[in-house]
Symmetry: C2
DNA sequence: ACAATTTTTTAGCTTTGTCTAAATTTATTT
DNA sequence: AAATAAATTTAGACAAAGCTAAAAAATTGT
């Protein structure tokens, strides 16, 4: 990816990433307050940093008008996200972390600066396309397939995919999954959906089971999607 | 290892490591100027930092008298060195970096904070005892076998070990090694040494070869040493 | 439309880690 | 043992990234 030839501080990288994520949600320009909340800092600090990023042409910024990433800034964000997600794959696939333990460590690892490292890590992991949560991994040039992660409740009958995450990570819900032999990494096929109550029949390792609409709207599948 | 319950900045960690390495060379207390040179900073900056480290009881410091690590500081240093060397093993064994490319990246990775990460990395790598340069890796408690890395010229006849490094990394020397089928990772046995000129006969993969004293004093072996 | 509220920015201060220049202590040398 | 040199510390400044409090702009409600 972009090989940005200018130095970026840890803090600058974090802001760029925050702005990227917020503009994914809201598409238009991002508010100072929103960034402050995301970064757990004060709006006045955000203003300062945003000015700095603007001078480096990483963001487009006009006073009182919010902020959005420039193309350069977008590529920086994607390079950080690429690193974050590759490290998450490493932590889960190679070091046997569970998918919900990896975020914090990946937040640190994503700032390591070495293009050779990321290239070799990518190869070592077999050029994965998604991270352990089913989120797509941008390639070196910043391209990635749009989110292929959907809730079971949003998918048509006969869809097939790998279970990559939950919305609700309460103990009771996780226990339910365990009891029904549903685990991250399993492949499911949606066999049928009842109009009546939205309940869904899915094919799992251990056969077909029926799950309620409530369960279906808490389980993410990464769709097996030819490119 | 020590799980130090206080926050340490990146800079503090670098100073602790520098002081550790300098006191290995000189054993007694370390001079402000020496630290400044190692850290590529100014003596006055060192004085400031050393005061800070002293307040955290990581070093013993008296004005104008140099500085040495406290036991607490020594354990911090060893924990950083442990991380550095484990990452180096990872980079070489898993990502196929060559042994002389890894230092810079490991300098970054050594600052990642997560005990679970290091434990799992250690296990993933098969609990290695030495890094790719033959330097010993401290265990969690900060214990490690004393340096097992010696120059061929310093070893007695019949010693056996794995070639782990060179002193002189000039192109001509590396080419010589290549031509004689000597590579990092190879096991050698010292068969004979000539009193006359210090030349040494060693057993390699491809048979016995004679190397000059000059070559012998540029090749490090990690001794195969039962514990 | 204009007053009240919310959002954003400015101004000035703090901490961390650095620097330069000057002062002080220690070491060396005759 | 005094003089010179070298090493070390102090004092004062600076840039980064944050904060608080106050001012300014934008938005909202009636």
């Amino acid at each position: 990816m972009l090989l940005y030839y200018f130095e970026m501080t840890l803090s600058e990288e974090d802001y760029i990433k925050a702005i990227y994520h917020l503009s994914q949600i809201d598409s238009k320009s991002v508010a100072t307050n929103a960034i402050a909340e995301q970064m757990k800092t004060k709006p006045s600090s955000v203003t300062d940093m945003v000015k700095k990023l603007s001078e480096k042409s990483l963001v487009k910024y006009k006073k009182y008008q919010g902020v959005s990433l420039s193309e350069k800034g977008r590529l920086v964000a994607l390079s950080i996200i690429r690193k974050h997600r590759l490290w998450e794959v490493f932590l889960v696939d190679k070091l046997n972390f569970s998918w919900d333990e990896v975020h914090e460590v990946a937040e640190q690892l994503e700032h390591i600066k070495s293009d050779a490292l990321i290239d070799k890590l990518d190869a070592h992991l077999g050029f994965p396309k998604v991270d352990p949560h089913g989120d797509p991994i941008p390639n070196k040039e910043g391209f990635f397939t749009k989110s292929v992660k959907k809730l079971i409740s949003e998918l048509p009958v006969l869809s097939e995919g790998v279970c990559v995450g939950v919305n609700d990570s309460s103990v009771t819900f996780l226990k339910f999954l365990d009891k029904n032999n549903i685990a991250l990494g399993d492949t499911f096929k949606i066999l049928d959906r009842e109009e009546f109550d939205g309940s869904v029949t899915i094919l799992t390792r251990v056969g077909a089971i029926r799950i309620s609409e409530q369960i279906a709207s808490n389980l993410f599948l990464e769709i097996v999607d030819e490119e």
